[in-house]
Each structure stands twice: as structure tokens, then as C-alpha cells.
């Protein structure tokens, strides 16, 4: 380029150059946003759309308005699933204190502690399917270790996975095994970040045991607790694989949760009701939305507090 107009070109920089600071972050975000829209946002609206139709997944959908929701309202299986979802939500949270307890136990320096830590973390590494299978054998009413152990203390046999009163609790216990390990790891990293000076100060003031834990350690573990809470709630709402492996929703549908019921009516061997399944999915989404809003809100508060 010849150079007589040099000062002009300095003023007339390209549009991108002028807006570089504002635009670049968006450019980097584009792939992520695109995928998020295609794979997360759009399917949400699609599901809501399908939930107003009757569709076998193969032919043409027929619009039925709110009929699917009206039927849900009157469906015993739906309430059973909803009830089980609530039990899952509440009991799954036990993973948090249990994880904290194990983390405190393992947070010391003795010979071989790394090995113990990895052994405790092991259940989280193995696949949920394997966890489910192992617990299925463990609970087996005739040959399982669980009932053998019960017979030592003169109890049993209890058919955990075949009894509608115990089945959900049995599956949750299986789910807690890896989830506790997950929370434990979160707390172990959290404990590394605990300020030794504050512990020291607490000790000088005569705090020990529970008081030390409650007033000095746990407040410092708040970020770890928050993450543990988030992953546990999400884990509880996603509880699908264990149910599918361990009971297939049975006996007579008593261990179903909403996600499994949705799968069953829409996608399983006998499921051809996409519309009804989508209606269940929408309900599940609304429940999740409550938690998501809460999580986002508390993170937002955190950011502002800084």
C-alpha cells in the first residue's frame, strides 16, 4: 500500500479492530453457546412441544393439548415415581455428612494414607452399572452376602430388591456408596485449604472436638459443601442407571423415579408414548429448575459479595 493517507487509515480501523475487546470473548463462546443451544436449550422446547401431542415415535404426532398432563395428574405410577424422587433427594444428601466424616478420618498423615484414600475413592471410579450389579448380588435373597450377614444375627431373609417397601432404600444405599466417595474427595481438597493459623488461634482459645469442627473448620469448607450439595442433588435427580440395572423399575413399578418412568413409557421395550414421556420430562425439568435457579442465585450472590 502506498502511504500518503496514513493518518486516515489509523482512524478508519476495521470494525473488528475497533471492537476487539468486546467481541473476542463472544467469539470464543460461540462454539460452546452453539452446542448448548442445539443440545440443551432447543430440546427443552422440543420436549415441551411433544408433551402436547400423542406420538409413537414413528408415525405423525397428533395434537392432544393438555391431555397428557391431565392423565399424569390421575396416574398412580406417576405419584409413586414422584414420591421415590423425593425419597432419593432427601436420603441422597446423607452422602454429604458421610463424605465429610470419612474425609476428616483420612485427613491425617500416617503411613500409607494415600493408599487408604484411593481405596475409599474407588467406588466412584467404577461404573454405576458395576455398582448396581455388585449390589444386586449383595442383596440376592437366596445367595447374597447381605442375607447371610443378617442370618448371623438371627434376622432375615429380606428380599430387598423384590419388596416394594425396601426396594427404593436398597437402591439408594447402593447409590450412596459412590456418592459418598465423591463428597469425600471434595472435602479432602477442601480440608487442604483450611487455614492452619485459624486452627491454631482456635486452639489457643480452647476450642477442640466438635466445637472446633463446627465453628472453625466447617465454615471454611463452605465452598466444598456447596459443590457437594450441587452434585448430590443432581445425582439424586439423575438416578436412572442404578434403577435400570438393579430392578428395572420393579417390583411392579415401585422403584421407579420420574426419569425412569419417562424412559419406560417413551423409549423402553413396550414404550411408544413419546408425548406422555415428554410430559413427565417437563415435570422433572420443572423440579430441576427450582434447584437450578437456587444454585444460580446463590452463585450470583457469592459473586456480588466479593
Amino acid at each position: 500500500m502506498t502511504a500518503p493517507a496514513l493518518p486516515q487509515s489509523e482512524i478508519k480501523r476495521s470494525w473488528y479492530k475497533r471492537n476487539e475487546i468486546a467481541v473476542t470473548p463472544w467469539l470464543f463462546l460461540i462454539p460452546g453457546v452453539l452446542f448448548f443451544i442445539v443440545y440443551v436449550i432447543a430440546p427443552i422446547f422440543q420436549s415441551v412441544g411433544i408433551s402436547f401431542t400423542e406420538w409413537d415415535g414413528l408415525g405423525d404426532p397428533v395434537n392432544v393439548g393438555l391431555a397428557n398432563y391431565a392423565e399424569l395428574f390421575d396416574d398412580d405410577a406417576f405419584y409413586t415415581s414422584l414420591r421415590n424422587n423425593l425419597i432419593w433427594l432427601v436420603l441422597y444428601l446423607l452422602a454429604i455428612p458421610a463424605g465429610l466424616l470419612i474425609a476428616l478420618l483420612l485427613n491425617q498423615t500416617v503411613f500409607g494414607i494415600r493408599l487408604y484414600k484411593s481405596l475409599f475413592f474407588f467406588p466412584f471410579v467404577i461404573s454405576q452399572v458395576v455398582v448396581g450389579l455388585v449390589f444386586t448380588w449383595f442383596y440376592d435373597p437366596t445367595f447374597g452376602l447381605f442375607n447371610v450377614a443378617l442370618s448371623w444375627i438371627g434376622l432375615g431373609p429380606v428380599n430387598v430388591l423384590g419388596d416394594e417397601n425396601y426396594v427404593t432404600y436398597g437402591i439408594i444405599a447402593a447409590g450412596l456408596w459412590p456418592q459418598t466417595a465423591y463428597c469425600m474427595i471434595l472435602y479432602l481438597t477442601g480440608l487442604n485449604a483450611v487455614d492452619p493459623e485459624q486452627i491454631e488461634a482456635g486452639r489457643l482459645d480452647g476450642a477442640k472436638g466438635m466445637r472446633m469442627l463446627w465453628h472453625v473448620v466447617i465454615p471454611q469448607l463452605k465452598p466444598a459443601t456447596f459443590i457437594a450439595f450441587v452434585v448430590t442433588i443432581i445425582g439424586a435427580l439423575r438416578s436412572f442407571d442404578l434403577i435400570s440395572i438393579m430392578t428395572n423399575g420393579g417390583p411392579f413399578g415401585e422403584s421407579r423415579v420420574l426419569s425412569f418412568y419417562m424412559f419406560e413409557v417413551a423409549l423402553s421395550e413396550y414404550g411408544f408414548r413419546m408425548g406422555y414421556g415428554a410430559a413427565i420430562a417437563v415435570v422433572l425439568f420443572l423440579i430441576m429448575l427450582c434447584f437450578i435457579v437456587y444454585f444460580l442465585w446463590s452463585m450470583y450472590q457469592e459473586e456480588r459479595g466479593r
Partner: protein, 421 residues
Amino acid sequence: MRSIFKATTASLGLAAVIASGALADGHAKLSGDLKIFSDMSNPAPRAVMEGMVERFGEMHPDLNIELTVIDREAYKTQIRNFLTANAPDVANWYAANRMKPYVDAGLFMDISDLWAEEDMAALASTKGAMTLDGKQWGVPYTYYQWGVYYRKDIYEELGLQEPSNFAEMKSNCQAILDSGRKCYTIGTKFLWTAGGWFDYLNMRTNGYDFHSALLAGEKQWDSPEVRQTFANWRELLDMGAFIDNHTSYSWQESLPFIVSGDAAAILKGNFAVPPLREAGLDDSKLDFYQFPTITDGVALAEDAPTDTFHIPSGASNPEAAKEFLRFVVSADNQTLINGGDALGQLPVNANSSVDDDKFLKEGFEMLSSNSPGGVAQFFDRDAPAEMAKVGMEGLQEFMVKPDNLDKILARLDKAAARIYK
């Protein structure tokens, strides 16, 4: 879970020897790819499927056959995806109402022209089960009888005879219970096994016509007839005839009880025989009887489910696929694959011979001469899919909580009102 078997150059050497004979003559020259998806994943069926592909490959050396075997349970949910998205040329499925969703959606190819061929007359007995809307949508490759497989040695030890009516069935059962065993093993985790019991109890109590009308949605569940069926079932339940904790087991997991002698019998299709034999029950210990009469005067009817091959409408090589179906149903192949050392089931081609196997002979005899009432497919093949699911769940619940019968029947009628509209 999936294995790919390619009958290509590897088998060509062998093929050249055999195909040079008369076998290759008379067949159209086929080339290209033939993609087969199969659900024959249990050991014996899998060997049969691979054997068929190998032999078909030898007859058509230019054809590149790609076989994908998918776990039988997983197949039932995957079929919807691959039929719509990535259709093979040949796929396994089941007869009767079970294929209706795919036929209605136009995913199976109409192969009435194949059925119009002369050779297909030998399959007349199963034509009805393959027909929907007046057209045929697939070919059968095997079917099998259902009935009671029992421990002969236990019966002999207790001095019992094969029962011929419900009273004898119950008195036998009582004797077995008194000896500290259970009468029947069953695993209802996957529900359909309970459907077998209902099929038989209902067909024996109310007859084939009522049963098929019920499953077709023409009768009420909450009716005196159905209640009578459940009352009969309840008699067995109240005796404690079935193994405990059956809701925890699949049918395979329920077999050890009969092998160990903790249970004396199982109501099952003939596919239970190979695993039981493998577990050590030879013909001196294992025997078969037809489900006994319950209501006098009701013609005996049997369950004999038919397994099938179909050509998806998205098939890319339908010519080769049709030739493969012709090969599958041919009399020789039928004799071979249904033999006692292969599938151990019954051939669908009338010109095939039934293997010289105790159970196959008994089953063939029963179906051809002692089933005047009719032949049903099976609970979950005769009823529409949704109804089958709700129904079998109710049956399982009844087996555990017989007191809930009123609730169960009301639920089934409510579901039926929606499904059969």
C-alpha cells in the same frame, strides 16, 4: 455385545468346493453388501445365526455379508432407532401384534410377493401370524411350544403322575410342598414370565377365544371370567406353589432352583431346555407335560411364539435380503437350525423334519394334534405393547399381593380404555 462376522474371502476357499456343486445353481447371482441385525445373542442361537450366515455366504460368494448380533433384551429398544436411522437389510423380530407398530409406521417391507411363491405354501401354518392388513411382513424361522418342564426324578421319588386336570395339578403340588420343595420356579423381574402363567390359566379357564378377545381389547378385565382365572391362580399362590422372591430374578436366574431340586417344575418355552441340559439335567431327570385342563370342556390351546426375520423398508439390498429369507425358511435349513443340537425348537416349514429329540417330538405332537382350541403367540405379542406392559406389571403385582386384585383389574380396564380406543 456386538460382533461382526464377515463371510468374505475367508470362507471362499471352502465355498468354492461346495458351491461348485448343485447348490449354487438355480440361485440368482447376488452381489453387494447384505447387512443383517440379529437378536440371537444367547449361545445356541448365536451359533445358529453365524452358521446360517456362513452357509449363505458359501452359496453366494460375491455377497459381502455383515452380521451384527445385539443382546436380545437391548435389541428390543434399539430396533426403533436402527429401523428409522440406519436400516439393515434383514432384521429379527416377532410375529403378530408385536410387529404392528413397525408395520403401521411403514418400517417393514411388504413381502407378500415372496409369500405368493410356490415354495412358501409349506409355511401356511404361520401365515396368519405374519399377516397384518392382509399382507405379509416377514418370515418365521422358528417356533416353540410352551408347557411344564418338570423334574422327573422328583416326581418318581414322590410317586406322582403327570397331571391331567387342575385338581391333580394341585394335589401333586401339595405333595411336592410337603416334601420341602416348591412346585414351580419363576423369575418375574422382567415381567413377561408372569404373562405365560396368565396365558395358560386364562386359556384353560375361559378358552382361547375369550383369551384372544381379552388381549384384543374386546372384553373387560373386571369380569367374572377373568376373576375366575385369578381365583384359580390364587389357589396356587395361597399354597405357596411358586418360589419366594421371584420378583428379584430373571428367568435365567430362576433356573438354578429347578436344577438344584428346590423347585420341581417350570412353565416355560422349549428354549429353557438347552440351559437346563447344560446344567446337568439329562432326559432321565427332565420331562415335559402339557398344561392340564382346568375347566372341563374348554378346548386346549397353546402358546407357541414365532420368531421372525423381516426386511426393513429402508433396506439397501432387498434382492439379497429376500434370497436370504428364502434360504432361512427352506426345508433343509429349517431342519438343520431347529435341531436338538442347534436351536432345539420347531421348524416352521411343513416339509422339514422335527429333530429326534424327546421335547421337540412331544411339543410337535402336542401342537399338531392336541391343541384344538388354537395357538396363541404370547401375552406380549398378542396384546399391544402398552397394554402388555401394564398388564404384565399387574400380573406380577398379583403374584406378590393377591389382595390387590380389585385395584389391579380397575387399573387394567382404565389402561385398556385408553389403549384400544
